[in-house]
Amino acid sequence: MSSDGEDYYYEDDYDEGSMDQDSPVSEGMSEPDIVYDVMSPTADEPAPKKPYDVSYKVRTLQEIINMQSKEVRKIQTLLEMPASTATILLRHYQWNSEKLQEQFWNDPAAALLSAGLSPPVSPSTRTGPLPPSPSLLISPRRPTRSSHNPALSPVKRSRAPQPSGPFECPVCCMEFAKEDVVKETFALGCRHRFCRGCWAEYLTGKIRSEGESSRIQCMESGCERIVREEIIDELVPAGVSKRYHNLLNMAFVADAPNLRWCPHPDCEYIIECTQAPPRMLNQLVPTVECNCGRQLCFGCGYLSSHRPVLCKIVRLWERKCADDSETANWLQANTKECSKCQSTIEKNGGCNHMTCKKCKYEFCWVCMGPWSEHGTSWYQCNRFDEKSGVNARDAQAKSRASLERYLHYFNRWANHEHSAKLDAEFYKNTEKKMEQMQNSGNLSWIEVQFAKQAVETVIKARITLKWSYCMAFYLKRNNMTELFEDNQRDLERAVENLGFALEQNIEPDSIAQLRQDITNQTAYVQKRHEILMDDTLKGYLERRWDFSVDI
């Protein structure tokens, strides 16, 4: 048995050399599982896909760039146009190539114009032997004979007929002699000519300070002609052009519904997932794991897993927690107002005979009526059933109940988060102790790993528990909700037990017993965790949950 495990271990190790960037995390985790083989927890292995899981890929920036050029090539061949034209069209239609094709075949001229490209027909812009791109574009079925002419730079190609005589740049008022006009100035197809220095300054400003990328227009005010990528590259310094391309890629990812940047700081991976479009987010919680080892929600970009709660509920909950309205709610539930001067009063002890500190008004805390009417029945109110008092008390009771309900869920939500942090800290101390034991005693490294696994399990389960309280807050009371709360309670109990066991002092004599105990409990927590997760997430697909808010 153990030799099998060892074999596998080496194999694993061997494989890792060839594809080491693939999954460093799962490698580290599966290793002890295999060696131990005690109720091997399956959660960390690439388990068979569950109906509520989404498949996704983690992409690098280079792959994103390749994706773009692939899309561009597709449109380029389909519509028979230069790559730069295809790129601008695609960007304009936010990389929706079906929509682009539909609109283009419908009315090529309108499609090009709306994207800020040359209007298709203008015979005056034809320059000699080279068929300018506009003429290609209105008759896309004609074979593209000379769309690739390496001899001409794009800037030169799109140049309009040269102005005769010297030229004065309308921006900086520099004069350019006739022979310098070609070298020193530049105009787009719209023939608004400026000197290259002004162009560079203008484009740099757009890119550097305004962060614009895909829709940089001609400098002339009101002119909507888009400046092409290769023209920008030619006119601006290298550093600016690099930033420009970064911005283009960011815009591409932002526009694509199936892509999302990993939101963790310093991480440059991009997640691609086609199974979690916004309309599916009322039944899916698309938690994914980036190659940087951290989790995120593909649906809303939350920085960690918020399973089993839907993105929308998470947003509502976070807003509710951040909102000041709960303070007002608290005031309403815990205080009353002096019926004479309206000061807010919190009663923190004593009898019902209140005297307002401010206006010296004497009243009864129970019925809020003036104390003078209470006659001689000091310290108790026998006017409880009078109408004025009843109404006021009803309103107050309702408000107090809703506040208590919220606090019940919020405290547990916050508590689990806090506990998860404490567990992690506590483990750091334990770890030191384990190392000592390993060094002094005859325990092997592998034998002291059980605690690490247990702590990881507890932390994961606590995060799920945390979110389960957010979920419960928004669930309507019914049988399904009771089942959910049963699962929640079972997991919570298991987690607390394991947490308690982990806090026991570890002594070398009792470690075998403790290890057995903790390993068993860890497996149980994992089991309960899976049940809660499984049931809740499947519940969305089966539409079992009934929320008090609209999802």
Binding site: P170, V171, C172, C173, A200, E201, Y202, K206, E210, M219
Partner: protein, 179 residues
């Protein structure tokens, strides 16, 4: 051409402003606007005189404004400040004019304008002053600079016009016996 050092920039600004000054002098704007540098030593500070458009409460008034150009003009727009401040929904209480054409393309304090309405290096003193003239005739209270004045203009136009006329008169030095 623009260089990276400020001196080259301000020489660009100076050259361009010289040209604009020449153009405006040669071809005055509808006879209702004059503009030019306060002193030939500093091209970055101009003074403009604007005649109140006919048929508006500003009619008959002549308003003076300072134009302050940044050293990187014309990449960034200049500031226009009426001295003394003019009562108008689109003029801040300190006299600064707030119209879209004078906003640098990146910054839109009131989030109302599309990029095409804003400053671009091909705009100039002439186009801005013409916009200011039409602004005097047709205030835009959607994106007002002087909120009090916007309210007055919307709720009680007659009173607004009365106050403007009052201001015009006092600017011209005509004092009236107002009880």
């Amino acid at each position: 051409m623009f260089g990276s050092n400020p001196r080259a920039q301000s020489s660009t600004a100076t050259r361009r402003l010289m040209k604009e000054y020449r153009d405006i002098t040669a071809d005055p704007l509808q006879d209702s606007i004059t503009a030019g540098p306060i002193s030939e030593d500093n091209m970055l500070e101009w003074e403009a005189l604007i005649q109140g458009p006919e048929g508006t409460p500003y009619e008959g008034g002549i308003f003076s404004a300072k134009l302050i150009f940044p050293p990187d003009y014309p990449l960034n727009p200049f500031k226009m400040i009426f001295e003394p401040p003019l009562l108008h929904p689109n003029i801040y209480p300190n006299g600064e004019v707030c119209i879209s054409i004078l906003h640098a393309p990146g910054d839109d304090p009131l989030r109302y304008e599309s990029a095409s309405e804003r400053w671009s290096p091909v705009q100039g003193v002439r186009s801005v002053l013409l916009s200011v003239l039409s602004m005097l005739a047709e205030p835009n209270i959607e994106s007002g600079a002087n909120v009090e004045c916007c309210k007055l203009y919307r709720d009680n136009k007659q009173e607004f016009e009365r106050q403007v006329r009052e201001q015009v008169k006092s600017l011209l030095g005509i004092t009236e016996n107002t009880e």
